[in-house]
Each structure stands twice: as C-alpha cells, then as structure tokens.
C-alpha cells in the first residue's frame, strides 16, 4: 500500500502552526512512517503535486489575491483539506483589520504609526497582490476538517495527522479541542 501524500502551505498566518507541527519532536518520524510529506513550507517542493495529494493542510486566513490562489490550488489538488489553526479556521488575529478595513490598517501600519519614517508611503508596486477582507478558509473553499488553536498543540496535530493517515476521521473534543 502506498503511503498517503500530505502537502501543506501557509497564507495569512504567523508560521506558528507549522512551528507547532515541528513541536511534536520525535513523533514527526512516526508521522513520516505513515505519510509521504510532499510540498510544504519546510520542504523543498514549491507546490503540491499537480497529480494531487491525499491531505492538504492550510495555515492562515485568506487576505489577498495571492492567498486566494494558494487556497484554490490546495483545494483543487487535495482529497481532504484541513484548515490548521485559528487564522485558517476563524480568520484569527489578521481578521481584526476587518473591523476597520484594509485601507485604514495599511495607513496606520505604513504611514500613521509613530515608528514610520516621515514621508513613508503605503507600498504600491503593481506586482503586489491586491488586499481583500481577511477570511477563514471555509469562506473561500470547502474545508473537510477544521483544527482550531492558536496554535493547535503538537498533540492535536499529531492526532489529526495520525488519524487521517490511517483512514480515520479525526474527532476533536475534550482535551484536543482548544480555540486558544
């Protein structure tokens, strides 16, 4: 039997969920016994296989046209899509800018904040992705499993990966269910 292929990517997050994945220490070797790790931000491949993977994992919310592309690509190439962490599940901390709007957030970050040099400008390179409202992954593409947590604990990620690798549905409850 071939091992299930797993790929991951990150969008509008802080990389903390991937850090938490690494936090499972030696158990990562067990995971590697069960799955074949393909493109991830911590491996060399840039994109999930065009031929598709069994499990796609997304960290972070969707806040611009570039992350929309990442989300659609991962959805299209994965049998099972996992939203990992509070930003992917709810929108998380980056979604706080939705309360004021992207333009006001940019203005504060690049111009109005005291830490900016006088005369600073909002970056306007035409190659930059266009900002959108920050959304949870399930607002953009269908998600099969939501794994909340900021970040989800290594135990939770290990449990989810181990269950999926062995063809079972992970059920998050009690000690494994945390939104914080």
């Amino acid at each position: 039997m071939t091992k299930p292929k797993v790929s991951s990517d990150w969008m509008c997050g802080c990389a903390g969920c991937h850090m938490s994945l690494l936090d499972m220490d030696e158990r990562i070797l067990k995971v590697l016994e069960l799955v074949e790790l393909r493109a991830t931000p911590i491996t060399d491949m840039k994109e999930p296989d065009e031929s598709g993977v069994d499990v796609g994992i997304l960290e972070g919310g969707i806040n611009n046209t570039a992350s929309e592309e990442v989300a659609h690509r991962m959805r299209n190439r994965s049998k099972i899509l996992v939203a990992l962490g509070d930003c992917a599940v709810f929108g998380g901390v980056p979604a706080m800018r939705n309360f004021c709007g992207a333009q006001a957030a940019l203005q504060l970050a690049y111009v109005d904040a005291d830490s900016n040099e006088p005369g600073s400008q909002i970056p306007n390179d035409p190659e930059l992705a266009t900002m959108t409202k920050t959304r949870a992954v399930h607002e953009v593409v269908p998600v099969d499993f939501n794994v909340p947590g900021c970040p989800p604990e290594a135990d939770v990620i290990f449990y989810v990966l181990a269950e999926l690798a062995q063809g079972r549905k992970p059920e998050l409850k009690d000690e494994l269910l945390h939104w914080h």
């Binding site: 939203a83 509070d86 399930h138 900021c150 059920e171 998050l172 939104w179």
Partner: protein, 662 residues
C-alpha cells in the same frame, strides 16, 4: 408538587420550578449562558432550549415552568443542532476571536459552551461591526465587542446591588450595555461593587487588576470571610504565587449570597501601604531593626513595673483583629495588667450605646435578613451606600418592587437619590426627631403599641424646631412608617456616636410603635463598624480613649489605619509600642514596632453585625520575619510570665449582646 419527565427520568418538583431547575434537581445538565442562580430568569440567550412533547418549537427551559405530565428531552439531535446554531449566531454577532481574550482558555462560559457542543469552527462569520470600549472605570473595562447581551450585568446591578446603573441602550444588534444615560462608567452612579464583572460570562467586563494574570485553574481558591466591615460577607480569595489575584463573592455565602462591595473586592488588590517586615526599636531617637527576642524583651522590661497599675499601660486594639486576638488583648491588659484604659480603636462609637441598652433589655436588634422583606426602610444616621454597602444592597434591590426608603442624615448622602423621603435634620436633633415621629403617630392614632403621649403637640413642635424639617415632611415620614406592614429601622454611627443610650431606647420605642419590632419580628438594627465591632464591645473594649497619666501605650493596630486624632492622642504617651503591618504616621512615633501579618495571612473568628460568628481563613504566607497578631500578643504575655487562660467564646458571653448570637 408537579410530575415531570426529563430524558425519560421521572421527577417530582415543587410548583413554579422551571424546567431548567427541575433538570438540575434530577442531575441533568442543560447548557446555559444568560441564566444565573442568583438572578431572575431572563430567557435571552436561548442556549437552554429543550424539546417538550406537544410543543411546536423548542422552548427555553430557564423560563418554562414545569407542569404536570410534561415530557422533556434535552439532548436530541435536533436540540444539539439548534444549540450549535444558537452559539454560531452569538459568535457571529461581535468580536469573539479567542486568542487574545483574557478569559479564553477555561474562564469563558461562551467558549466552554462551544467546546461542550464540540464546535471546531463557526459556520457563520462575524459581521465586523465595531462597538465601544469604555476604559473610564478604575476597576474594570467594559468591552461591548465581547458582549453577548445576556444582561447578567444589568440584572446583577439591579437585582443584587440595587444600584440600577447598568442598562441596555439601542435595540437588536446595535444593543449596548451602558451606564446611566450612556455616560462613561467612571463618571456614572456606579458604586464599584464589581458584581457585574463577577457575573459576566465572557470577556466583556474585564477586571483590571487580575486580567491576564492566569486562569482560575492556575489559582488556589480559599473560601473566607471579608473583614472590611461588620457585614461579614463570604469571599473566595483567588491566590497565585502567594499573592491575591482577585477576590470574588461566594455565591454560597450566608450573608451576602455572592455580592461584595468596593472595599471587600478591591481594597486588598489595590493596597499601596508599605509593609513592616522586621521588629524595630528606637535607639538614640532613631528606629532600628532588631530581633524579635530583643524587641519583645524590651517591651516586657518596660511593662513589668507598670503591671497591676490602673494607669500603667493604656491599650488600644483594632476591631479588625480576630476575636481570639481581641480576647487575649483584653485579658492581658484589662484583666492581668488591670489597666483602666483598655479599648478599641473605634472606642465603642458604633456599639457602646446599643450594648449598654442591651444590658437592660437583652437582645433587641434583628437579623440582616429582615431587610430582604421590608416594605419600608428608615435609614437614620447610616450611609449604607458607603460604609456598609452590602446592607444597602439587601433593600435597595427591592425598591422597584415597591419598598420605600426614608433616608435621614444631617448631610445629604449617596442614598438620597433612591429615597422616597429625605430628611436632613440639624445635627444632634435626633432625639427630638424620634420623639416627634412617635408623637405624630400616637396623635393620629396610627400606633401599634399601647404607647400614650400626653404632650404630643409640644413634642411635635419641638421636633420641627430642633430638626429644621417641615411639619409636613415629619408627618409624611411618620405616616409612611406607621402605614407599613413590615418596616425596618436601620441606624448607624449618626445615632450611636452620640453615646446616648436614651436615643437607642427611643428608637426602639418608635420601632415597637410602628410594628417594626413586634413579637418574633425584630425590624431594628444598627450597622456597627468594622469587622469585629460586636466582639470588641462584648469584650468590653468600647470605652472612649483618654490618657490619664498612663506610662505607656500599646496599640494593636494590625493592618488597620491609624486616624489622625488617634496619632495625636497617643503620641503624648511617654512610651509607645505599636503592633502593626504597615508603616504609618503612628509607627513613625513608636518606640517599639512589632510587625504583624495582615488579615489574609492569619486565621480567626469574626462576629458580624447581626451576631453571626464566622471564621476568616489564612490565604497567604506572611513575610519571613512577620508574626500573626495572636502570636505577638501571646508572646508579650509570655515574656511577662502571664498565662492567658480565658476562652473567647465564653468571654464574649459575659455581656448581653444587642443581637442574638449564632
């Protein structure tokens, strides 16, 4: 009784029980958010929905009365789905992003409810509307973005504190918790009792002092009794790393049922006085740190020749000390030293006249509970919205139900805005006022006792003249009292400070006349002073303090404050020993300072204003070189080879109490 079936379990419950209440009795858990056991049922959050056989739609169990033959299901698939939907709607309404909320991770009832339903995400995303955050209050922050509109805070403010500051403004999704007419909380009529914060199920009301300092699971909870005043509220002291993080009211508390006041909740966490951590003695005019042995030895050497001398050592103790400590203090200085000046810092101001009246009459005061059912409360010389706030809560909360309030005080005070009648009589006119009220009632034939007054007109005239109040106001007051079914007369320092037993007697006569005191009912009580006012007066520690050739003064101050007048009076003494927790203008003048633990670092018993004896528990370990009050008093005795023999429980029975003890 009604028969009801919940989840196939048949139980019998008293009529009027809600389905939620019945389920609780049957040990069946129904998730709730807006429901609270000390608040009226509201039915706002709908989380407690259940299926009732024969009903078209799910019903909120918190407002649905159980009726005979009702068949209820609490956990069907449809109900579970609806609960998840209800929670989704709550989450979608405002900013309920958990990671940076201080109650997230165990202390949030909303988050816990979602975990209970095993929700991994919100099916409906928020609407991204921004609500106001009010940071104007010294003790807490109101963040409407975290609010789920359960109105627990609004109900607590009205139904527990009786203060009616919080309300809901606007409608629907724009609804907001506001203070008064939408003024900043810090400028509102809020009396800072913090009851709203204690009941808030989310992070909408944030306690400034304990925010982000850990969750309940990280803290030790010590159930104790507040020693802030004579009410004796039950508390839960939340401690982490030998530090009080916050204090909450104990919902099981016999006196307060969960509420506290500003003093009880916040004084300990906002304390800024500097601790004394080592014994000190004055050498060449300067206070210098010494060992306990040296300090106690010096005190003993100084006191030895002064024992058995009525003007040897004058002694004062704080009424915040435990009954155990006050008893040893009294035995040491009054019995063994036979000093004629052994009293408390309160000098019996709040208690001497009531105890002396009780000496002839026996117990004449009622219990606090009598206030809960009072239809009229006459508050005379007692600003309970300030000095004994929780006493005020007990009747203020009933004002919307028709309880009337008569507030009598020489100066306008914080109760005036709630009072039906406010009288501001001239100072020292109380006796004339009370006799005048009696005379009006007797003259109008409204009295319920056989009291006759021959010179009623003269007394009424005298009352008008002495108090400066109009005859009309006095008549209204008298009539309101006399027409009541269950009146209560509450009095405080304004009356007792006059040290006039006659005044208490006339007040008692008035209480009997209007039926406040009648057979088994005792609708007359005094609020007294600090936490052990009653124990102190029963131990005889209630004389006015006077130095009369005394050679030394011993002040067992504990963690109390030393008033300016006290410092002035005792600093005239040739030698001053102070047993204190904090540096003060009194310790500056001391010849010997003995550092002692604060209330939370020692255990002991307290007798509250209505005669209830309760134990305050030790919640903290004192600093290394600090000893508790009882130990220090015992060690002073020991140094002088005096054996302390009396038992405080017996000692407090030597005088008749103004209130039945229990």
């Amino acid at each position: 009784m009604v028969q009801i079936t919940i989840n196939e379990k048949q139980i019998e419950v008293p009529e009027g029980t809600t389905v939620l209440g019945a389920a609780k009795m049957a040990g069946i858990h129904i998730p709730t958010l807006c429901a609270h056991k000390e608040l009226s049922s509201f039915g706002g959050c709908r989380l407690c929905i259940v299926e009732v056989k024969g009903f078209r739609v799910p019903m909120a169990s918190c407002t649905l009365p159980a009726s005979n033959g009702m068949v209820v299901e609490t956990n069907t698939e449809a109900i579970k789905k609806s609960r998840e939907f209800i929670l989704s709607m709550l989450f979608s309404e405002r900013n309920h992003f958990c990671p940076f909320c201080q109650v997230s991770g165990g202390d949030c009832e909303l988050q816990n409810a979602a975990y209970h339903e095993e929700m991994t995400h919100w099916p409906i995303q928020p609407g991204w509307s921004d609500f106001t955050v009010d940071t104007s209050h010294p003790y807490f922050i109101l963040d409407n973005n975290r609010c789920i509109l359960c109105r627990r805070c609004v109900r607590a403010c009205a139904e527990l504190a009786g203060n009616f500051t919080l309300a809901l403004a606007e409608r629907g999704t724009a609804s907001m918790v506001v203070a008064d007419t939408n003024v900043p909380l810090g400028e509102s009529t809020c009396i800072k009792c913090g009851s709203c914060v204690q009941v808030c199920p989310t992070g909408a009301l944030i306690d400034r002092n304990s925010a982000y300092q850990g969750h309940v699971k990280d803290m030790d909870e010590i159930k104790s009794v507040c020693v802030g005043c004579s009410v004796g509220c039950s508390t839960r002291i939340m401690v982490r790393n030998n530090r009080i993080v916050r204090i909450e009211g104990d919902w099981e508390g016999a006196v307060n049922h969960g509420v506290l006041c500003e003093r009880g909740r916040y004084d300990a966490v906002t304390e800024t006085r500097k601790r004394i951590t080592t014994p000190q003695i004055r050498k060449n005019g300067k206070l210098e740190p010494v060992s306990w042995d040296e300090a106690l030895g010096i005190v003993a050497d100084k006191f030895r020749p002064l024992a058995s001398n009525k003007n040897g050592v004058a002694a004062l103790a704080s009424t915040r000390l435990s009954a155990e400590s006050l008893n040893v203090f009294k035995e040491l200085f009054a019995d063994k030293f036979q000093s004629d000046m052994v009293t408390s810092l309160e000098e019996g101001v709040p208690t001497a006249s009531v105890t002396s009246f009780a000496g002839k009459n026996g117990a004449f005061e009622g219990k606090l509970d009598v206030l809960r059912n009072a239809d009229t409360v006459m508050c005379i010389g007692a600003n309970v919205n300030h000095s004994h706030m929780v006493v005020g809560f007990l009747f203020k909360r009933n004002l919307p139900k028709g309880t009337r309030l008569i507030n009598i005080s020489p100066e306008p005070n914080e109760l005036d805005y709630l009072a039906n009648i406010t009288l501001n009589p001239k100072p020292k006119s109380d006796l004339a006022l009370i006799k005048g009220l009696q005379a009006i009632i007797v003259k109008e034939g409204l009295g319920r006792s056989p009291l006759t007054i021959s010179n009623a007109d003269a007394l009424i005239k005298q009352a008008v003249k002495a108090t400066g109040a109009s005859l009309e106001d006095l008549t209204r007051t008298a009539q309101m009292l006399a027409h009541s079914i269950s009146p209560v007369i509450l009095f405080g320092k304004g009356i007792t400070a006059q040290r006039d037993e006659n005044l208490v007697e006339e007040l008692h006569r008035l209480a009997v006349l209007v039926g406040a005191v009648d057979g088994e009912r005792f609708g007359l009580l005094s609020v007294k002073g600090e936490s052990n006012s009653l124990a102190a007066t029963l131990l005889g520690l209630d004389a006015a303090f006077n130095l009369n050739g005394h050679q030394a003064v011993y002040v067992a101050l504990g963690d109390d404050y030393a008033s300016k007048s006290l410092v002035e009076r005792v600093s005239k003494a040739p030698y001053l020993v102070v047993q204190a927790s904090y540096e003060s203008s009194l310790t500056e003048k001391a010849d010997v300072i003995l550092p002692v633990s604060i209330w939370a670092e020692q255990e002991g018993h307290y007798m509250n204003l209505d005669g209830r004896t309760q134990k305050a528990e030790k919640a903290l370990t004192p600093p290394e070189n600090v000893r508790d009050n009882l130990t220090v008093l015992s060690e002073v005795a020991q140094q002088m080879n005096l054996k302390m023999e009396t038992n405080w429980q017996k000692a407090v029975l030597e005088r008749k109490s103004s209130v039945a003890l229990n």
